[in-house]
Subunit: 338 residues, 4 copies
Amino acid sequence: MTSPRPLRMALFGSGRIGQVHARNLAAHPDIELVLIADPFIDAARKLAEQTGARAVQDPDEVFAEPGLDAVIIGSPTSTHVDLITRAAAHGLAVLCEKPIDLDLATVMECRDKLKDTTVPIMLGFNRRFDPSFASINARVEAGEIGSLEQVTIISRDPAPAPRDYIETSGGIFRDMTIHDLDMARFFVEDIVEVTAVGSNQFSSDIEELGDYDSVVVTLRGSRGELITITNSRHCAYGYDQRLEAFGSEGMLEAKNITPTTVRKYGASGTAEGEAYMPFFLERYAQAYKAELDAFAMAIRSGTPCSPSFEDGVAALVLADAALESARTGKTVKLKPIA
Amino acid sequence: MTSPRPLRMALFGSGRIGQVHARNLAAHPDIELVLIADPFIDAARKLAEQTGARAVQDPDEVFAEPGLDAVIIGSPTSTHVDLITRAAAHGLAVLCEKPIDLDLATVMECRDKLKDTTVPIMLGFNRRFDPSFASINARVEAGEIGSLEQVTIISRDPAPAPRDYIETSGGIFRDMTIHDLDMARFFVEDIVEVTAVGSNQFSSDIEELGDYDSVVVTLRGSRGELITITNSRHCAYGYDQRLEAFGSEGMLEAKNITPTTVRKYGASGTAEGEAYMPFFLERYAQAYKAELDAFAMAIRSGTPCSPSFEDGVAALVLADAALESARTGKTVKLKPIA
Amino acid sequence: MTSPRPLRMALFGSGRIGQVHARNLAAHPDIELVLIADPFIDAARKLAEQTGARAVQDPDEVFAEPGLDAVIIGSPTSTHVDLITRAAAHGLAVLCEKPIDLDLATVMECRDKLKDTTVPIMLGFNRRFDPSFASINARVEAGEIGSLEQVTIISRDPAPAPRDYIETSGGIFRDMTIHDLDMARFFVEDIVEVTAVGSNQFSSDIEELGDYDSVVVTLRGSRGELITITNSRHCAYGYDQRLEAFGSEGMLEAKNITPTTVRKYGASGTAEGEAYMPFFLERYAQAYKAELDAFAMAIRSGTPCSPSFEDGVAALVLADAALESARTGKTVKLKPIA
Amino acid sequence: MTSPRPLRMALFGSGRIGQVHARNLAAHPDIELVLIADPFIDAARKLAEQTGARAVQDPDEVFAEPGLDAVIIGSPTSTHVDLITRAAAHGLAVLCEKPIDLDLATVMECRDKLKDTTVPIMLGFNRRFDPSFASINARVEAGEIGSLEQVTIISRDPAPAPRDYIETSGGIFRDMTIHDLDMARFFVEDIVEVTAVGSNQFSSDIEELGDYDSVVVTLRGSRGELITITNSRHCAYGYDQRLEAFGSEGMLEAKNITPTTVRKYGASGTAEGEAYMPFFLERYAQAYKAELDAFAMAIRSGTPCSPSFEDGVAALVLADAALESARTGKTVKLKPIA
């Protein structure tokens, strides 16, 4: 059923997210992980050893490698545009972690360079592949709750990233909310208005950097759908990732995941579940695998990637609009991207 | 719609259960609570004052009262047979707390005396009126889960009654399990076999009295249904009262009740509910009201009472059989009651 | 413990909400319902008969009645200001259904007239007395989730009111959202900013009347708290009334209520609960009783009423601000009410 | 950290359970699947191809293979005793699917032959490795619910196996209940009494074969613990696998698993989950992996296997006792196995 030889891939980046991809690539029946590239060659070597790949330091070595089919870009954001562009030029399919870049102008420039490219380019909005969110999306598409009217997304990180990270993150909207903005577009592709408010509730570090630690974003879709996103940079009970899709005929809800189904009953309380999955690596473990399946499938079948490069652009446009709205206190109306 | 004057009733007993009945009687739109009888006249007086009734010391005063329609018997078990017999002889409808008596021979004698009586006699198996159990029963009757095959009843008291109470209680099967035996018969009226095991797990008091603090009873219905009852005389998380009805096409489950729907999420656990209702007065508050409605309705309509005197007999027969089975290690086959 | 004679009260209005109050008043141990006033004298008479009160047609008859302690105002909104003012002038305590009036200027005028009044005036924001919401509020106050940061309120009516009602309702913010705005203030009293968006999703009637059928409101508290309200005028699965309070140390959540705890398991799905309580009369039945308790307690103890007349003013100010924000696409900053 | 070369293993059987093991063996980082043996050589070949192993027809080829460390026995029950004995004689570690044999005398003979063996022998009671059951077991061991008093095990297959299978299955107690009997022993190792009842509720095939389709078993532990097992050969809502451990200080419960956390709310019902995992391959997918980890760990560390051969013996003794009890209507007291 599968092609005579597996898809040969290279991975950029051997950090936290690179490690997730490396293990999934190594375990995938239709993929051979050939190279892992990272300027921190020691990290690349260690990961390569565990996954049967070769480690290289210089991206050039990846592009010089014969017989590659695709690259996975899990290196720092600042390298994304360059690596996407070069990979596309070499005819390699691309799966790139979000965001494309923090600067919309840079992204649009990259988009321009890619306008004639035919290789599959997929954006790493992994949450679209979460079994619960994907199931709701499919059931909404199938008309199970009638016409979609409201979407409620609650998304809270367990604890803020270190100050250093926050400083270069592009701010909460471009760094954290962007995932939820893409999730909003997964359900309501055509967003026409963005209204956002931000607040500083607990982190003086974040406040000093001119960023928010808590935000609420309301989006309006072209058919009047209202989507609400609630974010916080901390959450005492773990990684909070929930979604409700409300339609004219019902509601579908995805809750958080506990490691087991065990519930405790005692003198002080009843039916207490375990703490939630700590963070995205655990919570979205299945999603990262399904994402890779979808990428391999897109390469094999030649069908368009989803989420696409354009989805990456659209999410950044929404993040920028949310920041503008939070700063000005005005709803921002979006124009169609030419 | 209702009769020109409310039903006039007297209550025997002003203890814990008498107080529940007194308040429900006083609040019932179709009932006038006329008398409260208790040898402890002070308790009767206090309760009478709160409920607009008159207190009397001697049961004779109740039977001498003109114009009564019914009596509620909430006095000690040892008084039940006498009061039922006299009330019936006076043409008064009866709602009597369970059990009729702890001794089956005495109960059968009473039954004999009542054989020509036409007044409604209802047994206070209040759990049949619990909204959740009643709803499952009705849905099973309506065929919602196909043919009923297994019933799982879990019933645990929050803490053992005092040693004094246990001593005269008739033992766990006749005192506590009897409620669950009636619940089993609510679903599967015709029980043909009883298998029981008892254990002493935590209470040396109960062990010294030759009683069990933990039992499991398995009943077989005439169509092969299997009903399992699990009892404990203590429960750290409150009054545990659950039921599952399993049929050929599905399952219906009734869970415990928390005072509110509030759930807590924190670092140590998630979705923690409140402690359960402490004991039967709280848990079955609605059931006691619905029981009174049913009693009033039976009197008004002349339809047979349910649960009936016969249901009280049947539950005691099952309790005796369970005790025999636990002691002998043998399944007890039941003969039809003549 | 209670005063020698019950509090003597009169009720204005014998419609849907008047009937709820009448029955609760009649059943309350410390209240005597003396009069029910309604220009539709037949309705008043019917209700009076059921509750042991006298029916009167003209409000003047209420104010002429000697020995009254308090009035409950459940008549149409347009009568509220007049009745509150007259009752206060007669030294009668007042429990008035929300809103005080749809017009803020009229409300402020009334407020001015009442500035020297000492009688207790309570606003009928019944949801504050819902056992689940009240419990969360108390637990937040007790510091159980640390410092409060975000509140998520989801509130959907089962179906839109008739066009006639909508037409004179003052619009969704003043008619429906106002309950949620008060709920927001129950948790975060001092609101400083209002941002709202409205949409027309399903009702052409509502659209033609220039009103919204779906809105999202984001409020900011003086300490940076963010509160989100999501409303819809319809909901396929019943009356949807939920709340989450998120703090630095955890989260407390109130869910919807099912009539029983029964859950069904079948071939097509598992753990299915019953449909929710249909609407506010059922869902908030306990809240209406607790509200009356609080009102009686406030009169007896002389402590300030909560929610107060000022809470009624504040909610209307927020509703007006939300409408302005939804229409202008701008966040509205609130000034302290003089 | 791991040994220089992976553990080299052979697998007997390429049927349903053999396929599960083959895939887990192939994916295990510390195991090399060398051989798959099956008289149905085509099935063995197909599976070998997918997993990079060699297929052989004759067990002798396995025992002739140099350098093997262990065998996994997933072939028919009738082959177990022979294969265990030969593997042990060849110094190979063994992981054998349950049961060892349907005949206790045969098992005891095998046990006798193994009495001097030192190789690790592990029984495939996979449910001990289910994350939820394992977690409850560990928390009970840690004293989280005080002293263990009652265990409630509910275990229902989605649908009866074909008549052919049932005919040679050894009956429900030896074929199906045996898993629950081992689960009971996972919590309460020392069982002293067995009481069982069986019923024929829906399958005439099973009845004709002299077997039961529905059973309830009550076990007593040496410290008075009571364990209840409820089984049915069918279940309309899928594979029903639940457990409650009740102790002096609380209760721990494991529920069934839905594929995602999605819940649906509609006009006819609320919070409806998806159908449960269809059967053991899906429900216990994680358990089979964890079982293999434990087996590899036992080989590496030389620590005793758990569940052991003795656990396999004990479960069969309980199954035989249950059958005897169901047939005789008497509680069966167990003697310590010499």
